[in-house]
Symmetry: D3
Subunit: 240 residues, 6 copies
């Protein structure tokens, strides 16, 4: 059995309780039979992550969550497409750490010539371009756009959310030559089936992608290098 | 249960029988509990793949193997780091198709700043640079080199094989800043543990990487796009 | 005098006999006065090359054609825009080897800021993007598209073929800033004059481009390097 | 007169008092006659920034510093080569925001073919490569390395610090073809003169570079776009 | 006090006298209080620079201007967006040398995700793409276009000039995702305020950008490297 | 018959008369039987081209040479590896225009994985890197270096010139993985045979490469686009 620590880097108390339950059920359907999910949410910080400002306030809480709950797990998954704090978590973790965007983009490489991302918010496009550049796969990115429904509103009218995502995805397929679509927010998991059913190309749902990627890294016994980016911090330097 | 069709794109009869058995055992250790491996080797063509000439004679046999044995599987894995025929197989397959190199490089993106590949043969370096460019991850490749032992000789003296691989890997770490090492031949699986134990950075063994990647694509229900690169061929055009 | 071995990597018996004669006449008009063309077609494999599947079945026959007919020539030209087997042929040839796409793209570099390719088939666009990346000239490629007439139908209604190519080319000029157009199939040679006459930018016909490039490499005494990609294969490894 | 808010994203109380005074004097020598510097340090968080973990704990405090002290300034400078929080600050600031690394790299473009960075710590090299990629100037970066003295030790023996920096810089000049050297830490300002005097190429000290860049953006009335990356956050979403 | 030698690489006698006076006033408003501008125009060569042909005839005159007037200045600014002769001037100058395009593009890096350039003439787009590539910032360039008014006509109807620039800029913002607009000709300075007022994103006027960049390089004591590109020429080789 | 106008962009009177004769003989050996060479040298400007300063004074004379001698030719070749004025000449020429560097680099794409350039002078390396970037083939360039013999001294001791070039080339092969070597100066033509004989990889001599490329462009009836970079200048704007 492998235990995956899934960190929700948002204050889940601010979310709709029914939606939250369905996310848990979704994860349990996706996980392998040999996987135990240990789920933890931050309790201070942003209710959703849509800007670098949000990321800024989420990261210390993510790091504290890892310090508080990271023992005895086999992999850590940061459950947000912004991949907040993933690099910093790797500095303090002895197990593989997976972000939703990098897992999705890595899988997309095997599924089609160009992938595109449909996310939410005006800054989504350039933010995701920067993520693709940081990952080194920018030549495979056909485009990225955000719909106008904010993250906390994605569940209010799932039909409308799906419609906007399908429309944005089809536009990227038609005008940018996208061959694979990635949903650019793990909060879109509950509409993924509806979107997938309507698209002529494969759809990657990032929460599932990250979980499966975490599972196989754990099973393969692979964790990140410690000889470059991910050198351990000197925690004694922090003043509080 | 998910069935993975594993295609050995080399004539396995030319290989050492004991090595072949150990490869099977290795795969069985790596596979998930819900995975059934269906293994098939080509019977005409090269005994090993080290040049584009070898690839050229292997690909038709790989395609025939898929046509003969590809029904009722959930994913197809081409068990060679040259990823021979992977694009062509996608044109005729309705299930996800995974090559060993692309799976390994995709995983490497999550494990360190730069990856390097230690393979075999003089042309390995430039060939692997071309593979990384084709995959779009060339900016993450620190370097690639080949040791001097040919593929069919890798098992003759496993200690020596491991020593040469470790030496090449350490050179890439020291001089090119590699943070992750990928073994550039699935035939190196039987020395992977020895190499891993000696390296200061993570080691990706491509046969295992490809199998796990095939598993999760199958579990996620993801297969490649059919709207661009991977359009179905018109088989009636072939003359024999 | 220089002898160029021109390999048609398709089963020419499947082609219209009158078209085939005109291709020969075209080549004879294009060739230099000091050039002898030695033409050979594969006799098994695809009748045309439009997918990686087609390429896969053509390559072994191309290699056999070189082995059977490659003695005493001064250069080898593979007469197809997919450049099938060009890398593999270099491994076994002591003379320069030229593919139609790489010759065309190399010439295009001297003729305008950005080139575009009009080819045939849905997969043409991404395939040609991959070719440009493999050649390292992707930043010069404005775009690539395929018309809907299949290769074997290009000669049926030359007027219609030309019209579709002109329309696609003008679209690439207007919307992608293309300054040079390359025909993406050597089977389009017979409509090249009609297309050229209608375009406001230079048009490269790849069969002619490859032949002239082969001529000058032969005249300059230049052949490919043998110290990296193009190391000779060990043919004894093949099992048939 | 233009007021520049200079944010030290580290707890300056942990620094040597004499060094801190000299940094202030240095800034006052560098600033233009029409510039007023308003300096503020975070009071919680890391004493120095050398890892992403450090950045993670610094960013919320930087954002609070801007919210508390950002009124009535004409530009904001984040005084650290990691450019912590610069993107997030732009989301909440109506004035130009300058990071030390991006200012230095922008200036370096005008001074030589390739620049290199000498910083401190094992992760400096890959971190700075990622910064250069994020800025889009990776093709101008010759290399980046860190010396072994930690940030808080840079002032202990300035002669030794300078010697190590000079040695690292000369190595990058000799082996990587660097034409411009950037100091990769604003804490190196007090040894900049000594390093500059010993190098055969121009040296950019990032604290000065960022201050001058902030001055001219303020004077030119230029601030960042608000139509893409830097959309204002919804602060009501934060829970504390 | 710092003296900036501003070289107009066009024959200013061909320009409207009132416009010329206003350019001077503009520069005097932009310059810092500690800056002395020393302005010199070439007297032979092109009246404006819109082609490489124009550049070709301007460069020797620029070099002569530097040789005649370059003593005792602290920086040299070449006042044209084509950056004519900037590399050659660096070979003979001991002070920093700034071109209008490279200064503008360097500043743009700090102001938004992607910049675009609105210039004049049909060749502007590809020319500016080449400039961005030469500077190494091509991944940040959203696009570049020219309006149809030639350089010497920009002042004839400033309202019309501004309207065309605003229209072109808005098109680049809407269709290419531009976040920052750069005016691609220093002759557009007199309409910059009108254009800026109408745009939803920051506007960089290159004459001002280059002057401020020259000022801070002079103040920082930074001049270009002499160990690579900018090696001094052997003037005795010239025959006249 | 095709007439190629070969422009020597240096004052040939400053060259050794015997060398000049041998260059002519070399060109006559290289040219095709259907080619007439019309050779013209500039009479004012630099005796050799080794800096941007030299280029700056050569270009107007090159343009005048084209205006004086360009009628009735079928192609123009600029006989210098710096490709001085090639873009400007295209603006005024109705026939194809070929530079020595771009012709050599285009041919190199077909001959090996990576090419390298051995030229002369300290600035050769970065200058050639910029040329490769401008041509869009920078990913194929393994490296570029200059030997210490200046252009006008290359003929003084041909044995020593060849030795230095061979040594530099072998260094690039051994340390940078170069598979093809290009001589980075057309003045090296007379030592090309000696260098070629000593190298394990193909050697491209740029004067011959450019001549053959000019021949085939003329034969193919291909000239450069006029819809982008190469728009005709307004010559009436020039003041003399």
């Amino acid at each position: 059995m492998k235990t995956i620590l899934v960190i929700d880097p948002v204050v889940m108390d601010a979310w709709d309780a029914q939606d939250a339950r369905e996310y848990d059920e979704y994860m349990n359907r996706v996980k392998g039979t040999e996987t135990v999910i240990k789920s933890v949410s931050i309790t201070r910080g942003p209710a959703s992550i849509e800007t670098d400002y949000d990321v800024g306030f989420a990261v210390p809480e993510i790091l504290r969550a890892v310090e508080d709950h990271g023992a005895d797990c086999d992999a850590i998954m940061v459950n947000c497409f912004a991949d907040p704090g993933v690099l910093a978590v790797r500095e303090i973790a002895e197990v593989p750490v997976v972000g939703a965007a990098e897992a999705s983009m890595a899988l997309a490489l095997l599924l089609g010539h160009k992938f595109a991302v449909v996310s939410t918010g005006e800054s989504a496009g350039p933010s995701i371009e920067l993520q693709a550049r940081a990952l080194g796969v920018e030549s495979r990115l056909a485009g990225a756009v955000g719909i106008t429904i904010p993250v906390l509103g994605l569940g209010a009218d799932r039909g409308e959310t799906a419609r906007q995502l399908i429309s944005a995805a089809n536009e990227l397929i038609a005008t940018k030559g996208a061959n694979v679509i990635i949903l650019g927010c793990t909060g879109m998991a509950l509409v993924a089936e509806a979107v997938r059913a309507a698209l002529p190309v494969p759809l990657i749902e990032p929460m599932a992608a990250a979980l499966k990627m975490a599972e196989i890294l754990a099973e393969l016994g692979l964790h990140h290098a410690r000889n470059g980016l991910y050198t351990p911090p000197d925690k004694t330097k922090l003043v509080f």
